[in-house]
Symmetry: C2
Subunit: 304 residues, 2 copies
């Protein structure tokens, strides 16, 4: 593949930014990639492992002359970062982000960007339970979706160039408006994460069951929840606070359904339970058919 941007700046050097760097390098999509992280420890690690062509000690230095600047910081930090980089942005540059929430990010970032700079919000639906500059790898986005949320009146060339970059990094791309994005994500990501966090917290809390028992016997189902409940706490705090309405709506709906199933258990209504459990099986088949998960037993977990 050929170079899409001569210079790309990555602000924040966690799982997504580091995977973007390796994915861009894999296919030669960027001339030079600069990087900045707030913590000097992260910058040192980045230099040590060769993450980014040039690691900068200030945001302004990293974005100077960049054709594309990607904000890869927690959602709650996006506004302050946008304000800080704005004076250093090259005219005609594109700013994008990878935040898990779109409306709040747009509200926080857009007002700071100067005239003539294109803003193309995006969200790659990919991740692992690991975080930090060492956690990235080039294949993270392969066959995963990246949702792009163009603004009204956006420059189509700028939007399409961002989409081409994501496709070059292995992703499928789609466009969506911010409100719909935030609702879809509440259903397939934010509510599931909160529920996983809650279940893991409950298991830790039941005094009559020891932590050793929870840990030793987790293969009976519990451990599947712990992967996403091990995700970065700062990132997820910001997600819930900034996608509050949609998340609370889905959680409300979840509670209603859970109560209906609890009542079926209490009443001994086996037919209701069986019908419900049969329906949910079909959805997994769809996910496997769509290439979004593996059919190997146990997710193909190797020997552990």
């Amino acid at each position: 593949m050929s170079v899409i941007y001569d210079r790309v700046a990555l602000i924040g050097l966690g799982l997504i930014a580091s995977s973007m760097f390796w994915a861009m390098k894999r296919s030669g999509l960027a001339g030079e990639v600069t990087g900045y992280a707030r913590s000097s420890e992260s910058r040192d690690i980045a230099r040590e492992i060769g993450l980014c062509d040039r690691v900068c000690d200030s945001m302004a230095e990293a974005v100077e002359g960049a054709d594309l600047v990607v904000l890869c910081v927690p959602v709650g930090a996006m506004g302050a970062v946008a304000a800080e980089i704005a004076p250093a942005l090259k005219p005609g540059a594109t700013v994008s982000d990878v935040g898990s929430v779109k409306k709040a990010v747009i509200d926080a970032v857009a007002p700071h960007l100067p005239e003539g700079v294109h803003f193309v919000p995006a969200h790659p639906l990919a991740g692992t339970e690991h975080s930090g500059p060492r956690s990235g790898f080039a294949e993270l986005f392969d066959h995963r979706w990246c949702l792009v949320v163009p603004q009204i009146g956006a420059d189509r060339d700028a939007v399409e160039k961002v989409e081409k970059l994501w496709q070059g990094m292995g992703a499928l791309t789609g466009e969506m408006d911010a409100d719909h994005h935030d609702l879809v994500l509440a259903v397939i990501s934010h509510a599931p994460h909160l529920i996983a966090y809650t279940m893991v917290g409950v298991a830790d809390d039941i005094r009559r069951v020891t932590e050793t028992e929870v840990i030793q016997y987790s293969a009976a189902g519990f451990r599947d929840f712990t992967r996403i409940a091990a995700s970065d706490p700062t990132m997820w705090r910001d997600v819930f606070l900034s996608n509050k309405d949609a998340t609370l709506e889905i959680l409300g709906r979840f509670t209603e359904e859970l109560f209906a199933l609890q009542k079926a258990i209490r009443d001994g209504d086996g037919e209701h339970l069986h019908a419900y459990f049969t329906r949910t099986r079909a959805i997994r088949k769809g996910i496997i058919a769509a290439g979004q998960d593996t059919d190997a037993p146990d997710f193909g977990r190797g020997k552990v």
Copy 2:
């Protein structure tokens, strides 16, 4: 390893029984293994794939002369199966089971067993989302726990022989009383399964999000829930109906915690959320350290 039982009968030929057969063969733990399944289709499949040394067309034929009979049927069917095999059991034989609930199984099975037959309830904490006679494999129990729930006054030799069999099939064994077993399982297996079923059902229900969206974008967290929500509906219906009290208790506790987190989201209490999410991260580390899950990103899912 050497033969532990001359003849073993497996009643029900699903994931657990078929994995037991392959695990026993791997280490030469049983002389002859007979098998019976209610559906003639399952018996035909078993014969086709060489599952069991001898597939029988009646339960009585399968258990005749067996030193160990293992009930591998849904929890709700255990009582009827025990009643049917009782007259054909060899004096001095051991009857065991692999049910996910222990108190209800003991209440259903024990009254049917003749004097001189040993009953050693057990529960291997292992499984995958697949079911049926083709789903078994010899490694299923390796490094997994099998909980044995000896009855008061049980013959220790009979109990230890069952434990030796499980150890021979690769499992770690532990003993527990039935009530504690059912509470521990409610926490680490039954409540998580119901919650996963509920979350998958909710996603399927939200009309403003299409099924295609749920499926395509599931890698953002949702798909981790779908594995256990694809488990056998009949097995799980019976589990919830027969471990009603403990499951409802844990679900009640879960709802309380979920409401507290919802309130923190509504109130914008980021500190509460961050502290909660930090605590749950530690539990996953314990599970990995205990060899019950893999530290590879995404459970080590291969290319999908």
